[in-house]
Symmetry: C2
Subunit: 307 residues, 2 copies
Amino acid sequence: MSFDLVSVGTVALDSIKTPFGVVDNVLGGSGTYFSLAASFFTKPGVVSVVGKDFPEKHLDFLREREIDVEGIEKTDGKTFHWEGYYENDMNCAHTTKTDLNVLATFKPKIPKKYRKCKFLFLANIDPDIQLKVLEEVKPKYCLCDTMNYWINSKKEALTEVFKKVEGMIINEGEARQYCETPNLIKAGNMLSEISRGVVILKKGEHGALFFKDDDFFAAPGFPTVNVLDPTGAGDSFAGGTLGHLAKHGVFDTQTIKKSIVMGSIIASYVVEGFSVDGVKNKRQQDIQERYDIFKKIVAFDHEYESL
Amino acid sequence: MSFDLVSVGTVALDSIKTPFGVVDNVLGGSGTYFSLAASFFTKPGVVSVVGKDFPEKHLDFLREREIDVEGIEKTDGKTFHWEGYYENDMNCAHTTKTDLNVLATFKPKIPKKYRKCKFLFLANIDPDIQLKVLEEVKPKYCLCDTMNYWINSKKEALTEVFKKVEGMIINEGEARQYCETPNLIKAGNMLSEISRGVVILKKGEHGALFFKDDDFFAAPGFPTVNVLDPTGAGDSFAGGTLGHLAKHGVFDTQTIKKSIVMGSIIASYVVEGFSVDGVKNKRQQDIQERYDIFKKIVAFDHEYESL
């Protein structure tokens, strides 16, 4: 059996405070959010590591969602723990504490069945690890994420990753930082030339931009009033996007655009609850409902009348 | 003769520095940018004041664009002068100096022919002046702008203005500030309840949001690589939007959405030059060209397939 979609990322226990509540040691991590979002469309595999303290119920929950957890290694030590808070501006996460724990020595063990997956997502981890994964896994299409920390400390290795993949799904701030330009369109075009062409820039509440060769697509953020906890929105967006792509098995521009809309919709549910609460009970009709709204909010009368 | 569109705003001489150049005492001001943008669609009137130093060639230029300048009073003193700069992040204007000059005692003199105009735009000025204008001018539809300064210092008067108009075209930051919420969707809904329902929030490079009752529209920013000077982008967006509305003479949701796209396109030209250089030589085919691109960048396959 080969897999349509595999991600390599973190499975974490998060402690989060927002103006709407406080939670302690809840399920989190890029691999978790990504896989959960992708599971709406496909049966994804996830490669990560957790400590002996990681509650078995979380793994059961992922299994229930038809996520393949064989790639989640359970090892001596404590699970990666992120502690942070959001103030009034929910667009900005403040990190209080990052306990890498078992993540400090993370060497992804890739189950054999993942090695020829069609789509691979390298979530935000050390670019040197991303490069090692790319030596082992030979996906048909690979997209990667990163963060400001790696742009500052390992830009060269990161550039190596960028060159080896179809493209990246990164935050607008990271794109500006990596490309050293405040102009996001310039940054997108630059990144498109570095990778094999596909660039998806995440802009939080402002949606996402997609660049590929001469193609450009702008998706607004889904209008969400009840933002309780933005943690995981970006990874859920990526998971929804790649999950939908994996379901269709193609990587053409039209499918990518539609997949970005799906990613936005799933991210809009994620932020409406703490941890994975906003999305865990969502079903197909919920996605369809927001998809129908999404169509409306970008629609305008296309007829151009002479001025 | 009655007018389709009149604005009350500033006509200024600006001194601007950006990473791409420096200009001194160039044509600027909200009334200028608004009217120029609107002149693509209609023959707008503008109410403002300038000093004796204001070059006649600028008035000639506005006349050439078929802008009615009878409402621009020339009075003793110097023209309103704004001096500012943009650093790497062109989204953020830094003000060095604001010489109000003749604007300090500005009492709009409204030509009689403007008093029954169909559309009125109250650009960012003292809300007390905006209220006075609304006593004299009885437009069919009025939209207003404002800025953080008035939200801080005259929120009550500003709220009076909001209650008397169809709606507002304001920056996202101002919306968040006025409504005391970081959530832009919440803010838009709140503002929609305060005014007669129409809210257009400007988000610079991220485009614009439109709220009206249960209707919501998100327009991305037009992707522009050559941003030389962002001054006037917001007023040009408003001018393009209201100019297009005035041309059609209606104020329904469908027309507003299309007008917002027109406003975005004209703003995208304005930022490509200093002062009014980016837009002054643009013609109908230029608008149409970007309109065709705009249609493409928001388009995605609408068919929803079962998951």
